[in-house]
């Protein structure tokens, strides 16, 4: 790989050990993909987590004096103050990892967004920007809905790119690699956000790795519908980018999306496939102990939806009701009265928090409900049923789901 004089000096350690390690990682990735050079990026999003591997790398950089050169936002860990006031069962060693991770991201000068949808508010790429965005919904959203360019980064490679302000030029940063691979004919009627969840789940599972081009979408998907499609297709599969010609920015026709090539494969999605996906996800019914919403983090609009469904209602005594969101969305939801309504009904709206963190240990032997297959996938709970938001709220009020 070609390296500039400055990059060679970074590798020689002249800018400190933290910056050196960051570039060493990027060069290794570049070598793996035969990248010719590093190219500037304008921003990054590190999918930080309370995991030991993440802690090791961010502390290596922070202790070595590294600082982010471009805006670099962070994923949720958990709201330590909030959860430790409510629960005394969170293991101290895991809480310590979470504390140190959050502190180290602060030391490297990251934007402390603790949000998994940073592209909506805290760190928004523009069309055509080169960026390094990790996190399952973020990578495909940024590539497809916004039309910026990012590879499928890990937390560490995204942080390293934020520190150096560059990324190795390979994969989706190169136009020719952004062409569609699979044609997906959507014949199913997509009514709401949950239908996009099911569509994402099905397409990801069916294709695995690739760039689907979806046709037959009849109306402009909403922000939340796009988020759900992105999150689920990149969890059940590895979909870093997709096209919905007419609704995503980069190609206005199917031919353009395939860059003149023929699709590797064609699949059709009817109501039958979506019902089947729904059936796979709804494993049981009966009494529930908790409802978990906001994976990915709920937007202001979704907090409003929850408030409307809960207005004047009371959540069942035996059910804990959680909504995870970003700090920015919660501030506005408070101002609009949504948080008050949810809390009055007996629910919690928490910020900075991911479903896959030790703060939920009190629920490890409990049965819950969510509208997100991604939440169910983490297996932090005994059993998680997946259903529409309306059904989750109704079950929370009744204490059971039939």
């Amino acid at each position: 790989m070609y390296l500039t004089k400055e990059e060679e000096r970074i590798l020689a350690g002249e800018f400190g050990e933290g910056t050196q390690k960051a570039l060493e990682l990027l060069v290794a990735i570049g070598d793996a993909y035969d990248a010719e050079k590093m190219i500037p990026i304008s921003r990054a999003h590190a999918a930080s987590s309370g995991q030991e591997g993440d802690l090791y790398f961010v502390e290596l950089l922070a202790d070595g004096g590294a600082r982010c050169r471009v805006p670099t936002s962070t994923n949720p860990v958990y709201d330590i103050g909030y959860f430790h006031r409510l629960f005394d069962s969170i293991p101290e060693d895991e809480a310590e990892v979470a504390r140190r991770v959050m502190e180290a991201y602060k030391r490297v000068g990251a934007i402390l967004s603790w949000s998994c949808v940073p592209y909506l508010a805290e760190n928004i790429p523009l069309h055509g920007e080169n960026v390094a965005f990790s996190e399952s919904s973020a990578t495909p959203y940024v590539n497809s809905v916004i039309g910026a360019r990012t590879n499928r980064e890990a937390a560490q490679s995204a942080l390293a790119a934020g520190v150096i302000g560059k990324a190795p030029e390979y994969g989706l940063l190169i136009r020719e690699n952004r062409k569609g691979t699979h044609l997906v004919k959507v014949e199913a009627i997509l009514k709401d956000e949950f239908d996009y969840t099911l569509l994402g789940y099905y397409v990801g599972k069916r294709i695995g790795y690739g760039i689907p081009v979806l046709t037959g979408i009849l109306r402009q998907p909403s922000t939340e519908e796009f988020i759900n499609f992105c999150a689920m297709s990149n969890v059940s599969g590895a979909i870093s980018m997709f096209y919905m010609p007419g609704f995503t920015v980069e190609a206005s026709t199917v031919e353009e999306a395939f860059q003149g090539d023929v699709p590797k494969d064609k699949i059709t999605v009817t109501d039958h496939e979506l019902r089947q996906a729904c059936g796979e996800l709804q494993t049981t019914s009966g009494g529930i102990d908790f409802v978990m919403l906001g994976c990915p983090h709920y937007t202001l609009k979704q907090l409003g939806d929850v408030a409307r469904l809960l207005n004047g209602k009371k959540i069942h005594d035996g059910v804990s009701f959680w909504v995870c969101s970003s700090a920015t969305a919660k501030v506005l939801a408070e101002r609009n009265g949504y948080v008050g309504v949810i809390e009055k009904a007996g629910g919690h709206v928490v910020v900075d928090t991911c479903i896959d963190e030790p703060c939920w240990i009190a629920y490890k032997d409990k049965v819950g409900m969510t509208d997100s297959p991604k939440c169910a996938y983490y297996r932090r709970f005994k059993e998680v049923m997946v259903a529409r938001l309306q059904d989750c709220v109704e079950a929370a009020i009744r204490g059971r789901w039939e």
Binding site: L25, I29, A32, A47, G53, S157
Partner: protein
């Protein structure tokens, strides 16, 4: 029986040197689905189920699963000193590079011959990533 020895060129991704008994997997590997204290593969339907990754030279087609679990999985093996000594892969991706980088295990690909034809479980393999060389010794 006479032992045979063959040395092949390879492409270095993460440098360093590692040697050990080869363990060949034809299926992708998720390090999270191993016992972090012993390195035993716990993924029931996997061809390596019950086998031990610790101190082996692992030959496998690619990684799999989400970045967070994959990286954390290899990191946990390394912190209990039961990580593989070297990784030989066919299809490398970003997450695997990050994983190997964090635990300082040599990672190579593009052997000049198909590793699945040349290397058998039980061979003794030396991976010298710095010199872009893999030596396979069969007893």
């Amino acid at each position: 029986m006479k032992s045979s020895e063959i040395t092949l060129k390879c492409h270095k991704i993460i440098g360093g040197y590692g040697e050990g008994e080869a363990l060949v997997s034809h299926e992708p590997i998720c390090f999270y689905l191993t016992d972090p204290k012993t390195g035993v593969v716990r993924e029931r339907s996997h061809e390596l189920a019950g086998k031990i990754l610790a101190n082996k030279v692992l030959v496998f087609p690619s990684g799999k699963a989400s970045s967070v679990v994959q990286i954390d999985g290899l990191f946990k093996l390394a912190s209990h000193n039961v990580a593989p000594k070297a990784l030989i892969v066919k299809d490398v991706e970003t997450v695997l590079v990050v994983s190997a980088f964090l635990v300082k295990v040599p990672l190579v690909d593009r052997l000049e011959k198909d590793p699945f034809e040349i290397i058998r479980t039980g061979d003794f393999v030396k991976v010298d990533a710095e010199k872009c060389r893999v030596t396979i010794i069969r007893k």
